[in-house]
C-alpha cells in the first residue's frame, strides 16, 4: 500500500534510549508513515518492555493510529516517565482514558433450535396479522370507493395499467408463442405414434387457455411489475414520502396500494388472454409444419376443444392472480425497513412469495373447478 507519496515520511521506529533504561520513539507515527511496516512496528513494540522511560519528543508526527499502537503496547496506560509534546501527550491521554472497548459479545442461546423455532413462529404470526390488517384496510378502501367514487386515483390506476399491462405485452406474447411451439412440437411427436394427430388441437388449446396462459402471464407480471412495485413503495418509505402523503391527508393505501391492486386485477385477465392467443398461434404453426394440420382445420377444431367455460375460468383465475400479486407486492413494499439491505431482501421476498402463491392458487383452482369447462 502506498500512502502519502509526494513527501516521503520519515520511517517510524523504536530505538533504545541512550540516557536510561528507556525507549526513544522517532519518525512519523501516522497511518501514512507506519503503513509500509506496521507489522514490524507491532513486533518491535511487543519486544520492548513498557516499563522504563519513553521519549517521544523527537516524533515528527503522531496521529491517533500511531498513538493507538503506542498506548496498546503500554497496556492502555501512559507511562509515568514520558517526554512528549503537549499535544501528543493530550492525544495519548485521551486514548488511554478511552480504554479498549469491551469485545462485542454475541448472545448465544442455550437452546438455539427452540429459540429459532419460536422466533420463526412469532415472526410468521405477526406477518400473517400484518397481512390481514392490509387486506382489511384494502376492503375498507374499496368500500369507501363504492361510497365515494370520485376519490379514486384514476391517473395512478391507468399508469399502472400502462406500465404493468401494455408494456408487458411484447414479452408475454413472445414467451407465450415459444411455449406454444414447444408444447405443440413435443406432443406432435407423441400423437403421431398413436395416429391421433387431430387431438393436437385439444391438447394445445386446452393446456394454453386453461393453464399455461394465466400462469405464464402471472409469473411474468409478478417478476416484472410486482418487484417494481415493492421497490417503489420501499424507496418511498425510505425517503419518508409515505409520511409526506399521510400528513397531507392522503392515505397511501388509497393513493398507492388500491390503484395498483385494482389495475393488476383488471390487466391480468387481459394479459393472460393475450399470452394464450400467442401460444395457440405457436401451436398452430407447428401443427401445420409437423403434422400438416392446416390453420383452417385447427381453428375449426378449437371451439369444440375449448368450451367457453374454460375461458371464463381462466379469466377469473387471472383476476385473482393479479390481485394477489398486487397485494403481496404492496405488503412487502410497506414492510421495507429504512436501509438498503432490507429493500433488496423484501423485493426478493415479494417476487418469491407472489409466484409461489400464484402456483399454489392455480393448483387449488385446478382441483376446485375440475368439473367446470369440459364438454360432456
Amino acid at each position: 500500500m502506498t500512502l502519502g507519496t509526494d513527501e516521503e515520511p520519515s520511517p517510524a521506529a523504536v530505538l533504545p534510549w541512550a540516557e536510561g533504561s528507556g525507549w526513544r520513539v522517532i519518525g512519523d507515527w501516522t497511518l501514512a508513515g507506519m503503513a509500509p511496516r506496521l507489522h514490524q512496528l507491532r513486533g518491535e513494540l511487543r519486544s520492548v518492555s513498557a516499563a522504563g522511560g519513553w521519549d517521544l519528543s523527537s516524533l515528527t508526527a503522531l496521529d491517533s493510529a500511531g498513538a493507538l499502537l503506542l498506548v496498546r503496547s503500554w497496556g492502555g496506560v501512559v507511562p509515568r516517565e514520558l517526554r512528549a509534546h503537549a499535544r501528543h501527550r493530550e492525544l495519548l491521554d485521551a486514548l488511554a482514558a478511552q480504554g479498549a472497548p469491551p469485545a462485542h459479545r454475541r448472545q448465544w442461546s442455550r437452546i438455539p433450535g427452540v429459540t429459532a423455532l419460536g422466533n420463526w413462529v412469532l415472526a410468521g404470526c405477526s406477518r400473517v396479522a400484518e397481512a390481514v390488517a392490509l387486506l382489511g384496510q384494502l376492503c375498507w378502501e374499496v368500500a369507501r370507493l363504492v361510497h365515494e367514487p370520485r376519490g379514486f386515483p384514476l391517473r395512478e390506476w391507468s399508469a399502472t395499467l400502462y406500465k404493468a399491462g401494455f408494456l408487458a405485452l411484447p414479452i408475454t406474447g413472445l414467451v407465450g408463442l415459444l411455449i406454444g411451439v414447444v408444447l405443440s412440437y413435443l406432443s406432435a411427436l407423441q400423437l403421431r405414434l398413436f395416429g391421433a394427430e387431430a387431438l393436437i388441437v385439444n391438447l394445445v388449446g386446452l393446456a394454453t387457455a386453461r393453464e399455461l396462459g394465466p400462469l405464464l402471464a402471472a409469473i411474468l407480471v409478478a417478476g416484472r411489475s410486482g418487484s417494481a412495485m415493492t421497490a417503489e413503495l420501499g424507496v418511498m418509505r425510505l425517503t419518508e414520502e409515505l409520511d409526506a402523503l399521510r400528513v397531507m391527508g392522503v392515505s397511501p393505501f388509497r393513493r398507492l396500494v388500491l390503484p395498483k391492486v385494482l389495475a393488476l386485477g383488471l390487466l391480468m385477465p387481459l394479459v393472460a388472454f393475450w399470452a394464450s392467443m400467442w401460444s395457440i398461434l405457436g401451436g398452430m404453426l407447428i401443427a401445420d409444419l409437423e403434422l400438416g394440420l392446416g390453420f383452417r382445420q385447427f381453428l375449426a377444431g378449437l371451439p369444440d376443444a375449448i368450451p367457453v367455460g374454460t375461458y371464463w375460468l381462466s379469466l377469473w383465475k387471472s383476476l385473482v392472480f393479479g390481485v394477489v400479486i398486487g397485494v403481496v407486492a404492496c405488503f412487502y413494499g410497506l414492510r421495507v425497513a429504512p436501509n438498503t439491505a432490507s429493500l433488496g431482501a423484501e423485493t426478493t421476498r415479494s417476487v418469491v412469495v407472489s409466484i409461489t402463491m400464484v402456483i399454489v392458487l392455480d393448483a387449488l383452482f385446478a382441483v376446485a373447478f375440475r368439473d367446470v369447462g369440459w364438454h360432456g
Binding site: D6, R72, L91, A94, Q98, P101, A337
Partner: protein, 253 residues
C-alpha cells in the same frame, strides 16, 4: 507550489445549457480553513465534488496534492483518495451497517489494523465527535440528523486525512452541537495540521473557524480573502449576504 493542497484553474461546469461555473481559479493552501459561500444553486457542492474528482469539469484543471486529478488512474488515484475525508451533505452513511461498522469501514479497507485495534480506534473516533457508546450499534436510520452528521464526520476522520471536505457540516445542528463541531475542527487542525474546505451557510461557523472565505456568485469567484476583506468587497450578493440584518449582526458581533 508546495503549499497548495488543491488547485483549481479555469474551472467551467455546465449542466446541459446551464453554466454553473464560468472560469473559477482557486487555491486551497495547506493548513487553512477555507469556506465556500454562495447562494442556493451557485454550485458550491458541485465545486467541492470537482475538487475530489467525483465530477469532471467541462474545462479547466484540478490538482490535488500537486497531482493532476484528471490524469490519475487506478491505484494512484485510490491512494490519493485516502488522503482526504469527505463529509457529505446528508451524511451518506451506509444504511445497512451500524454506526460502528460505518466508521470501521475505511479502517478495515486499509487492511493494516487488527480487529481489536479497529474497535479501539472506532471508539476513539466516536468519542471524538461526541457520540455516546449507545449509538455505536444502532443503524443510521435510528439516529437524529445531528448524530448522523457526527457519525459521518467520524467516518471521514477515520483514516487521518490531511484534507477534510465538509458539505454543510453545521446545517441542521443545534447551536451547542455547532459550537462543539467548530471546536472539534479547530482542535483537529491544531493536532494534525489539517486543511479544511467547507461549504456552509452558517456565518457563526465562518467567523469562528475560517481563515479565508471564497464567495461564489454568478458562476464566478466574487471575492476571496479573510472575512474582513471579503465583506469589504462591493458586490450585490456580498452586500445582501453579509450585510443583511442577520448577517451584519453576525459579522460585526
Amino acid at each position: 507550489m508546495a503549499d497548495t493542497v488543491i488547485g483549481l484553474t479555469g474551472i467551467v461546469t455546465r449542466f446541459g445549457e446551464r453554466v454553473v461555473h464560468d472560469g473559477i481559479d482557486l487555491a486551497v493552501r495547506r493548513g487553512e480553513v477555507l469556506a465556500l459561500v454562495g447562494g442556493s444553486g451557485s454550485g458550491k457542492t458541485t465545486l467541492l465534488r470537482e475538487m475530489i474528482g467525483l465530477l469532471r469539469p467541462a474545462a479547466g484543471r484540478v490538482t490535488a496534492f500537486d497531482r493532476d486529478l484528471q490524469a490519475l488512474r487506478g491505484t494512484e488515484l485510490a491512494s490519493l483518495r485516502r488522503r482526504w475525508g469527505v463529509l457529505f451533505q446528508h451524511g451518506a452513511l451506509f444504511s445497512a451497517l451500524s454506526i460502528a461498522d460505518n466508521v470501521a469501514f475505511p479502517l478495515r479497507e486499509a487492511r493494516v489494523f487488527t480487529a481489536s485495534e479497529v474497535a479501539h480506534l472506532v471508539a476513539r473516533k466516536l468519542a471524538q465527535v461526541g457520540l455516546p457508546d449507545t449509538a455505536a450499534e444502532l443503524l443510521p436510520a435510528a439516529l437524529s440528523g445531528g448524530m448522523v452528521k457526527r457519525a459521518a464526520l467520524a467516518r471521514a476522520l477515520a483514516l487521518e486525512p490531511e484534507l477534510l471536505l465538509l458539505d454543510e457540516p453545521t446545517a441542521g445542528l443545534d447551536p451547542v452541537a455547532s459550537e462543539q463541531f467548530v471546536r472539534l475542527i479547530r482542535a483537529l487542525r491544531g493536532a494534525l495540521g489539517l486543511t479544511v474546505v467547507l461549504v456552509t451557510h452558517d456565518l457563526d461557523t465562518i467567523r469562528d473557524l475560517c481563515d479565508r472565505v471564497a464567495v461564489l456568485a454568478d458562476g464566478r469567484l466574487a471575492a476571496l480573502g479573510s472575512l474582513e476583506e471579503v465583506t469589504a468587497v462591493d458586490h450585490p450578493f456580498i452586500r445582501e449576504y453579509f450585510w443583511g440584518t442577520r448577517g451584519a449582526r453576525r459579522v460585526m458581533g
